[in-house]
């Protein structure tokens, strides 16, 4: 479970910060926004899902404990 939490915490940081050098481009426009902006917005959803996962793990642990 600890490993799962570490992974869920790391993913958003890698997505939003680590990937910046590789996504710095205007084209292709995705859903009408420049690629770099799209990547950042997608990062918000990735982060939302990861925090959701953490919350799920923690609330399960609290119920069990």
């Amino acid at each position: 479970m600890m490993l799962a939490k570490i992974i869920l915490t790391a993913i958003p940081f890698i997505w939003t910060i680590g990937m910046v050098p590789f996504v710095n481009q205007v084209k292709p426009l995705v859903l009408g926004v420049p690629f770099f902006a799209f990547w950042m917005i997608a990062g918000i959803f990735v982060c939302f899902l990861c925090i959701h996962g953490l919350y799920y793990i923690d609330s399960k642990k609290n119920r069990a404990g």
Binding site: T16, I17, V20, G32, A37, M40, I44, F48, D58
Partner: protein, 493 residues
């Protein structure tokens, strides 16, 4: 009715009604002999899920979100997109930090960030130092709200009412409801403000590009054709490149919850569960920040004359396209976006000063009643200080905020490692903090932000944080055998 009158009338209605709304909780309590300090400062520590969520959200969507994001898009292009990234990461950081802080706060009756530091390191002096630094960085933040408000009212009155009287009037009102109702006043008004703001921002963010270019994609296509490269990094700037964005994202995501007023909010939650739950849904709020950017980009393509103040892009384009009453509505929402966070900032700054600077240097314990009286008085004094700063030293909104972020991020090692790391020591905290803040001030005042090193442009706050952290850990390790580790006490719940 002329455009000018209707715009002003609407803004005035907004400001007045919010002030009254903010005063209600304080009025209700005055029948029972006034609000108790704990009620006034941390809302009686019983804010449930939604109220807490609105306070957090209410502070995030400030003048900066409204004007700064569109101003950056207008002037700088690509680097603006970093703003979309840091919020969600900050909530992830908060998911770990806030639930750890909240129970400590409840158990030891802490109300402010320096209270927590003083508790963690059993050191009055370190608490005072943290409070002084916190106030120094909160003031520009408060000034940012003021400056934004002045700009908005100036535009909405078509230049009839100048900035200074506008700021004076609105801030008298903010001071009034904070004085009476404290945090509860801020929370009730935040709910109203958020709804109005999100509607306004989304409407214009979608309507304006669609109106001129057929779709959001059409607008970006046109902008990319007109200014190739403007929408990627470094966009319209020389040095806000990939390395700057990466280092700035680190600074802002770690520094987000280091703002002193956020500590106050985590102490106002009923239980840690509330804070964890909020962290799950807050990131989605960040998507709204794209809309003011869309407005800024559209303004760049559409407005014929270049703007002297890029932060005015949003207001100017609305003024040119729509009748006065629409401008009034937007201005009203914008005014609230400045007033409500300002209320919260005033409250936090006044608590920092009263409890952690005045109360501690006096050397005697202030009673809760004395603290409450003093804190309310300090609210008025701070309003005056921030007003004079805004009048005599206006500055571009974002630069101010970035300075503040670099500064408060330096608290990160001290607070987070103090909460979680067994070997943290008081001397380590002092050394890290002092190294970090000296570097921040040195780099920013020396015009070395961003700092060019080895082909990279790093955010000054990032450079300072790096050395701060190394110092903190090294000194703590060197001194931890000699001193009783601090964090054992914090976890002693």
């Amino acid at each position: 009715m002329s455009d000018q009158t209707s715009a002003l009338l609407i803004i005035f209605l907004f400001v007045i009604s919010v002030t009254i709304l903010g005063m209600i909780p304080g009025m209700r309590d005055s029948t029972k002999g006034g609000m108790k300090l704990e009620d006034w400062a941390v809302g009686g520590r019983n804010f449930g899920r939604w109220l807490n969520w609105f306070i957090l959200a209410g502070e995030i969507y400030t003048a900066f979100a409204f004007l700064g994001a569109s101003g950056w898009a207008y002037a700088r292009g690509g680097p603006t997109f970093y703003i979309l990234g840091y919020g969600a990461l900050a909530y992830l950081v908060g998911y770990y930090i806030l639930p750890a802080m909240s129970p400590v706060g409840r158990k030891y009756n802490l109300m402010t960030q320096p209270d927590l530091i003083e508790h963690l390191y059993s050191s009055k002096t370190l608490g005072i130092l943290t409070a002084v630094i916190g106030i120094a960085f909160l003031l520009p933040y408060l000034q940012l709200q003021l400056t934004g408000l002045g700009l908005i009212i100036e535009t909405c009155s078509y230049g009839q009412i100048t900035r200074v009287p506008a700021m004076l009037i609105a801030f008298t009102m903010v001071a009034a409801f904070v004085y009476l109702s404290g945090l509860k006043g801020v929370a009730t008004t935040a709910v109203v403000k958020d709804v109005i703001m999100i509607v306004a921002i989304m409407f214009f963010g979608i309507y304006l590009p669609t109106h001129y270019f057929g779709s959001i994609g059409g607008m970006f296509e046109a902008l990319d054709a007109a200014k190739p490269g403007f929408l990627s990094l470094p966009g319209g700037t020389k040095n806000l490149d990939v390395s700057w964005v990466m280092s700035t994202l680190v600074v802002t995501s770690l520094g987000f919850y280091m703002w002193p007023h956020f500590a106050t909010n985590s102490f106002s939650a009923k239980n840690p569960e509330v804070l964890r739950h909020n962290a799950v849904y807050l990131p989605l709020y960040q998507i709204c920040l794209l809309f003011p950017m869309l407005v800024g980009f559209t303004a760049l393509l559409v407005l014929a004359t270049p703007l002297k103040t890029p932060d005015m892009a949003f207001m100017v384009i609305v003024q040119q396209l729509f009748p006065g009453w629409v401008l009034g509505l937007v201005g009203g929402a914008g005014a609230l976006a400045c007033m409500i966070p300002a209320g919260d900032l005033l409250l936090s700054t006044s608590m920092l000063f009263t409890r952690n600077v005045y109360g501690r240097t006096l050397g005697k314990e202030l009673t809760a009643h004395e603290q409450g009286r003093m804190a309310r008085f300090v609210v008025l004094a701070l309003t005056a200080i921030a007003l004079s700063l805004a009048i005599f030293l206006p500055n571009m909104l974002v630069n101010l905020l970035l300075t503040g972020y670099s500064g408060v991020t330096q608290f990160f090692p001290m607070i987070v490692l103090g909460l979680f790391w067994k070997k943290a020591t008081r001397i380590g905290a002092y050394s890290g903090l002092i190294v970090g803040e000296i570097l921040v001030f040195g780099l920013i005042l020396g015009k070395l932000d961003p700092l060019a090193v080895g082909g990279m442009n790093l955010n000054a706050g990032f450079v300072a944080l790096f050395f701060n952290l190394i110092t903190y850990v090294a000194v703590s390790l060197a001194t931890c055998s000699a001193e009783h580790p601090v964090s054992a006490k914090a976890r002693d719940l």
